[in-house]
Amino acid sequence: MNISASRGNRPTITPELVAEHGLKPDEYDRLLVIMGREPTLTELGIFSVMWSEHCSYKSSKVWLKTLPTKAPHVICGPGENAGVIDIGDGQACIFKIESHNHPSYIEPYQGAATGVGGILRDVFTMGARPIANMNALRFGSPDHPKTRHLVAGVVAGIGGYGNCIGIPTVGGECNFHPSYNGNILVNAMTVGLAPADRIFYSKAAGPGNPVVYVGAKTGRDGIHGATMASAEFSDDSEEKRPTVQVGDPFTEKLLLEACLELMATDAIVSIQDMGAAGLTSSSVEMASKGGLGIELELDRVPMRETGMTPYEIMLSESQERMLMVIKPEAEAKARAIFDKWELDFATIGRVTDSGRLVLKMNGEVYADIPVAPLVDRAPLYERPWVPTPKRAVLAPSSVPAPPSLTGALTKLMASPDLASKRWIWEQYDHMVMADTQQRPGGDAAVVRVHRTKKALAITTDCTPRYCQADPELGGAQAVAETWRNLTAVGARPLAITDNMNFGNPERPEIMGQFVGCIAGMRAACRALDYPVVSGNVSLYNETNGKAILPTPVVGGVGLLDDSTKSATLAFKKAGETIILIGAISGHLGCSLYLRECLGREEGAPPPVDLAAERRNGDFVRGLIRDGRVTVCHDVSDGGLLVAIAEMALAGRMGATLQPPKNLPAHAWAFGEDQARYIVTCADADGVLAEARQAGVPAEAIGRTGGPTLTARDGDAISVGELARAHEAWLPGYMSNP
C-alpha cells in the first residue's frame, strides 16, 4: 500500500521525536522490526500510546496475572472494559475502578469529572445501566498550599459529572498524607446492572461490517493523555493544562440512554468506549480481540475543530464517544436511535480480514499497521525489584498512654483522616435513582437492585500506611477490609476491582512495593474466595523522585439476597450489650493513634490472619441474617474506641465501656488489630455462647445508652461535643482561605 508522503505525516524520525513519544530506543527498534520500515508520524503516535504503561500494562502485567480471577459467579474477569459477575435471577453486576490521578492534579475539576465519565462509559459499554458511583481520594497534607484547591476542585468535578448524569455517588474514602502533595489520587468506581445474557464485548467480528462512531465530536483535547499518565511529573507539568480534556455529562447522559436503547435491539456486534488513547485504543482493541483488521476513513470522523490531522484524530481523548461494529442491516435503525438523542452517528470504516489497521484520509493512507504484533509484541517488563525491609513490631511499652482516652479520641475523631467527610458527600447526589438504602458514612453503601428484594453492597478501601510498612500485609489488609465492610452490612462479598497506585516502577524498591502488595492481595483473594474481576494500574505517581505511599485501592462488591436483612452502624437501642467479635492484642504499630497523637509513623502494621477474617466474618454475617444483632460495625482505622464513637455519633446515643485488666487501656482503645467487628444485641448470652461454639473470640465490652461515651470510669465525653469536633474539621478547613 502506498503511504501518504505528505510532509506532516513523514517527518524525519529523530531520536528526540521517538523520546517525545515516550518510547525507549529498544522499544523503537522493536517497532521497526514489526513495521519493516520507518513509521509515519501517525503510526509512531499509535505505537506510542498502545505501548504506554497506561495501555500496555508493560510493568505490571506479569504480576497482575498472578491474581485469582475465577469463581463460579464470575462471568467475565479482567481484560474487558469491566468485570462481570452473576448475581442470580438472570442479572449481572458489572463494575470497575479507574484512576484519573494526573489529569486531576493538573485541572482538578475537569480531571475528576472526566474520570467519572470514563469509568461510567467502561461500565455501560458492556450493556449495564450504572446504578452507583464511588470514589477513593488521596490528597497531600492539609498544610500544603495546593491541597484545599485540589479538594474543592476534585469534589466539585465528581459531583458535577455524577449529579448531572443522574447516577448516585454513594460513598468512598478520602485521606490526606504529605506523600500525595505532588500526586493526588482520584480513583472512581462505577457499578452497573445488566441482564446476564445481554453482555456486550469489544471483540470485532464479520469482515465487511460497518464500524460506527457515536457520541460527541472529536477535538484536540487530551492528545497524549495516555502517555502523560505514564510519565513521572516534574515541576513543569503544571504547564500541561491544555492537554486536559473537558467533560460534558449531559452528552454522556444522552450517550448512555442511546446506547442502552440500541443494546435492547440486536444491532451491535461489538462495542468499545473511547477512553485513554481514544480512537486508537478502541479500534486496535476491537480488531485485536477479533483477530481481524479495521480500515477507517478519518475524514468521516465527526470533528469539532477544523484542520485536524490523522495523528490528532487518532490520539484525541475527547470524551463521550463510542466505537461500535454493527450488523449492516441494522444501520438505519441504529442511526434513528442516535438521531432521537441528537448525537453524532457516523460510519467511519469497516471490519476487514487483513489483520491490519489501515487509516485513510482524503484518499491517502496515513497508517498501515499489523494489529497482532502491535498488541502481542508490546513491550513486557519483568522489572527488577527488591523486597521492602520488614519493620520490627513496636513494643507496647514504647507507646505512651494519653492523659485521657476520650481526649485522645476527640483528637483522632477530628483528625483529617477520621473527621467526618459530610462536606464531601453532601455535594454528591447520593439518592437519585431512589434505591440508595445505606447512604454514605456507613461501612458500605447498600443500593437496592431496582424492583427486587436484592441489594448490592459496595465499598472501597486501602490503608496506604500499612502498605508502605509491609506491602504484603497491606495488600492483604486492603482486600480483607473491603470483605469485612461488606460483611458488616450483612452482604456476601463476591468480587473486587483494584486500582494499583504506585510510584516509578523503574525503581526496584517501588517495584518491590507493587510485587508485595500483589502477593498480599493474592493470598487474601484466595483465602476469602473473592476474585479480582477488573482493575487499573497507575504508575509513576511521583514528583522529583518522591513517590506516593503504595496505594492499592480495592473496590469490593457484595450481595444481599434480602435487603431488609441489612445492618447499619448507628446505635439504635439503649441498654443493649456491646460485643466485640474478634481477638484483641492491642497492636499499636502503624496506628492512627501513634501518628495523630504522638507524631510517629513507625512499627510493623497489624498482622492479618485470613482464616480468622473468614471465620469471624462468616459468623457475623450469620448473626445479621438471623436478626440476632441490632447494629454492626467493623473495627479499622483508629481502633475499637473510634469504632464505638462512630456508632455513637451516627445513633446520637452514648455508651459505657469497661476496658479489660490484662491490656494497657490505650492499646485496648486504639490498637488496630484486624478481623474485628462490634455488634450490639439484647441477647448477649446467646450470641457469646454461639461464638464460643464457632471458635470465634467474642466478649461483652459495655452497654449502649445515655448522652455520653464513657471509655472507662471517670473518662467520658458527651456525644454532642464529640460530634462537633468530628463534624467541624473539614468544613472549617475548606472555608479558610
Binding site: A156, C164, T251, K253, L254, D429, A434, D435
Partner: protein, 229 residues
Amino acid sequence: MKAAVIVFPGSNCDRDIAVALEQSSGNPVTMVWHRDSALPKVDLVVIPGGFAYGDYLRCGAMAAHSPIMREVVRAAGKGQPVLGICNGFQVLTEAGLLPGVLMRNASLKYLCKDVNLKVETSQSLFTSGWTTGQVVRIPIGHGDGNYFADNDTLNRMEDRGQVALRYCSEQGAIDAGGNPNGSARNIAGVFNDSKTVLGMMPHPERLSDPALGGTDGKDMFDGIARALT
C-alpha cells in the same frame, strides 16, 4: 389518578417519580418525550428533576421553551394540575407558570441531604396528604435552589397563600439554620394563583419507601392520588 411525566434530554428523576406515583395511584404513568407536541389526557402532569438540556445557559431555561412545554403552559392555563420537582420547579419558573427564579445556592455548592419542611397549608390538591403546620422530612439535591423574587412579589404571594412549603428546623422554626440554600423567606415550594400548579425544590419521591428511610413523601403522593381520583 392518571399521571404523565415529561422527559427531557437530561431528566434523571423521571423513573423515580414514576415509581412513586404508581405506588400511590395504582396506575401506570405515561412518559412523554420532550419533542411530543401533544399532552395525553391525564389528571396530573409532572416535570421531574434532573438537568434538562444539561442545565446549560440557566437551569430549566431551554426546557421551558421545548414543544411539550408550550402544551403544558396552555393546559395549565385551563386548570390542568402540574407539579414540578427540583429541575421541574426551575422549568416552571422559566416557563412563567410560577413567580420568581431559582438562583445558585448561597454556599455555591450542590447540596444533597434531608431537610425539614413546614407545610404552609394542606388546603391544596398537592398538600392534602399533610396537615397545615406539619414538619416533614424530605431530601434536597440541587445546586440552584435559592428562591428569589422581589419584595413586592413575595408580599403578594404571601397574601394570596402561594407559599406552599418553607425550609425549617427540626422543631419547625423558620430560621437561617434550617435554610439550606439562602432562599428568600425560606421558601421551598410555591403555588400558582389557583393552587393548581406547584413547584418545589425538595424531592418527595426520594422518601416514599420505608426501605429508603422515610415515607413523608409518600404521604404527599397519597394525598394527590386521593384528591385527583
